[in-house]
């Protein structure tokens, strides 16, 4: 077992950290107030390889060989330290690009990769509660219902949709032009270009259906593994950032004759949060490492289980850490002069997007039990 980063991993982590400390953190407060990422994000992040890192070179992207989820988790942690909303935008193309590369038809690949190479975004959606009406028509699908709200969907050209017909699971690529897209700005990840997509009996041709049945179950499992590992890494970054801000404040703020950081109760809040963030970070890295080594059903299940467990803990840890960071800053934490109230808002999607992870785990066990 070796926990040390190799040269390339170290370089990626250091490069993204510099980008985060220099640019992302400087932009974060204004982006949050404006409800939009700064226009130069795309150019600056694009120069660092974001947006096209999962698109094959042959299709105009930067991916040469196998994709590394481990490297993605490393950068995700750093991005979480900067701004969860911008991080969502920078990471949103990965799952659609990898899934379409792996399971998509030539037509699906052409449609998505041309869009992404032209600066477009794609998002991943999962119909966790069966709210969509998905009907099979031969090899094609017809979809009705509302997708989202999801980060990136406000401007995305395509949605990688994991859903169910009455009989089977399906994984499909749906162009957002097939429905009515609406940009929205929730309280969290406000730089994330959120949106919803309302589909009214939208036709999804067979060429855009990436997988169905047992193949779709495996494909969706892998897509969710990638997504959950990345989300957990970013959540660990948000929790870490919350305590970085809280520590700095607690060292300077004096009450009752001493810096408040010396009070045992606040030391405990910080220490518990740091412990949780460290655990989530390791679990996310481990899940990503396993995702890089999926070869069969057993390794696929192991990677997904690790990513799912990382996400469960990540949701709890980032929620608690950001609430406690606001607590440490007290009245200053509750107003937007300091970054922690934004971090508390930003914590929520980690436990809410694409469904309740604990519920998923329970349902999976019951399904295995034949219940």
């Amino acid at each position: 077992m070796d926990f040390a980063l190799d040269e390339e991993q170290t370089l990626i982590a250091q490069t993204v950290r510099r980008f985060v400390d220099k640019d992302v953190r400087a932009w974060a407060a204004d982006a949050d107030r404006a409800g939009a990422a700064p226009p130069r994000l795309h150019a600056v992040a694009g120069d660092l390889g974001f947006f096209l890192d999962a698109v094959p070179e042959a299709a105009g992207g930067l991916l040469d060989g196998a994709y590394s989820h481990t490297r993605r988790a490393l950068r995700g942690y750093e991005l979480g330290r900067g701004c969860a909303g911008m991080a969502a935008l920078l990471e949103t193309n990965v799952e659609p690009a990898l899934a379409v590369s792996r399971w998509g038809s030539a037509e699906a690949q052409r449609a998505l990769f041309e869009s992404l190479a032209g600066g477009g975004l794609a998002v991943t959606a999962r119909d966790a509660r069966g709210a969509l009406d998905v009907v099979r028509e031969g090899e094609a699908l017809r979809v009705s219902g509302k997708v989202g709200p999801l980060p990136g969907l406000g401007t995305a050209t395509h949605v990688l949709l994991a859903a169910r017909t009455g009989e089977e699971h399906v994984l499909a690529l749906v162009p957002t032009s097939a429905g009515r897209r609406e940009a929205v700005t929730p309280s969290a990840w406000r730089a994330g270009a959120w949106g919803t997509l309302t589909l009214e009996s939208a036709a999804v041709p067979a060429s855009m259906v990436l997988a169905r049945g047992a193949t779709a179950v495996d494909a969706i499992t892998e897509v969710l593994t990638w997504w959950k590992a990345s989300m957990a890494a970013r959540a660990a970054g948000v929790a870490t950032a919350a305590m970085e801000h809280a520590r700095k404040y607690a060292e300077e703020r004096v009450q009752f004759g001493q810096p408040i950081g010396r009070f045992e109760s606040l030391i405990r809040l910080r220490d518990d949060a740091d412990t949780g963030a460290a655990a989530v970070r390791l679990m996310a890295f481990h899940a990503a490492w396993l995702a890089d080594r999926v070869r069969d059903a057993t390794s696929r299940a192991a990677a997904h289980d690790a990513a799912s467990r990382a996400r469960v803990l990540a949701g709890d840890v980032v929620d608690r850490a950001t609430i406690d960071a606001v607590q440490i800053l007290g009245g200053y934490g509750f107003v937007n002069d300091y970054p922690v109230e934004k971090l508390m808002r930003d914590a929520r999607p980690f436990a809410q997007l694409l469904g309740d992870e604990r519920f998923d785990r329970i349902l999976a066990v019951r399904a295995a039990q034949g219940a």
Partner: protein, 405 residues
Amino acid sequence: MDIFHDNPMLAGVRQMLGAFARQSIRPIATKHDQEESMPWDLMKMAQGFGMTQTAVVDGRKALTGKDDEGEDGNAKKPKSQARLGVAGSEELAYGCAGICLAIGGSGLAASPVARMGTEEQKQEFRRLLKGDDEQGHIRVAAMALSEPSTGSDISGLSTTARPDGDHYVLNGHKQWITNGQSASVYVVWANTDPSAGRAGVRGFIVARGTPGLVPGRKETKLGIRASETAQVHFEDCRVHKDMMLGAGQSSEGLGDTKKMLDSTRPMVGAQAVGIARAAYDYLVERVQGGTMQGTPLAQHQRVAFELAEMEMEIQAARALVHKAAWMADHNLDNVRMASIAKAYGARVAQDVTSRALTLLGEEALEPGHPVEKWYRDAKIYDIFEGTGQIQRRIIARSIFGVNPT
């Protein structure tokens, strides 16, 4: 023990304010949260229910308009003001905690006037709150205690009140002041004798428009955004000595303000209970209509047991705030119980709203979702009126007799 049953008056207040919260507060809550605006029209309407800005000074039972001189008119018998306060606070916060605070914000300033003010000062306070202001809004009051460097540790107040003939000259900066921009009258805490430390702290009634009183920047907050929070600055602000609370009488200085905070904690805890109940009720309704993989959500233990735990927490928190209020109404020392009720209520509000969001998932990420707003609102209850850490310090000191560090 009569904390387990509402008497007819309490039941009536619950019913009336519960209906007010559902029919009048809830429909406008999202708008005022998003716009960060005070609900002035509703505040005027609330006056019609007896929720006047001077009710505390008038010594009347809020909402009933009767003198609170003890049950059966006997001053030595138990009063009901505290129990009325917690019942009403829970109902209003059930509608919207920010609007609840907007309606009741003047009470923070009125409380020390009622406790420490002379009859002349009470009359002046009432006069300054009479009628509408230049914007056509009802007049409101602000309690100016906290300072940029003085949050939890109020003994470190740096605002000074220097004697100068028949006046005091106030200098300093106040922070996190409810109604700080809009108030027609301020109750300002300043030190008349810094060498005396906390014993030198006194409260002053200062009218809006007094030269040197400068309302400052309004804060953008995580929650309770319908309640205005602002800075207030005092720059050589001259206040007549007659406007010093308890002028000519003995005062415990800062000790008086601490007693005042003790008295409001059950109500603050009750507001937190109201937020938790709002999220719980929303979730119950949502679960009753939902299914997951063909099975009603209510039949999934993952969902139903979460709600059962929320119900346990809410019931416990409500029992605590009512016990603290009952003790106050029976003239019993409730300092420990008030802190327990406030700290526990805050914890429950945060816990219930957070768990509710997780269960609701993506749908609660919609802009303007009420549970997301309640989650943001809940956090302040662990911060203002004494943080959770301050409450635990009070509780621990009451157990061991020393302040733990």
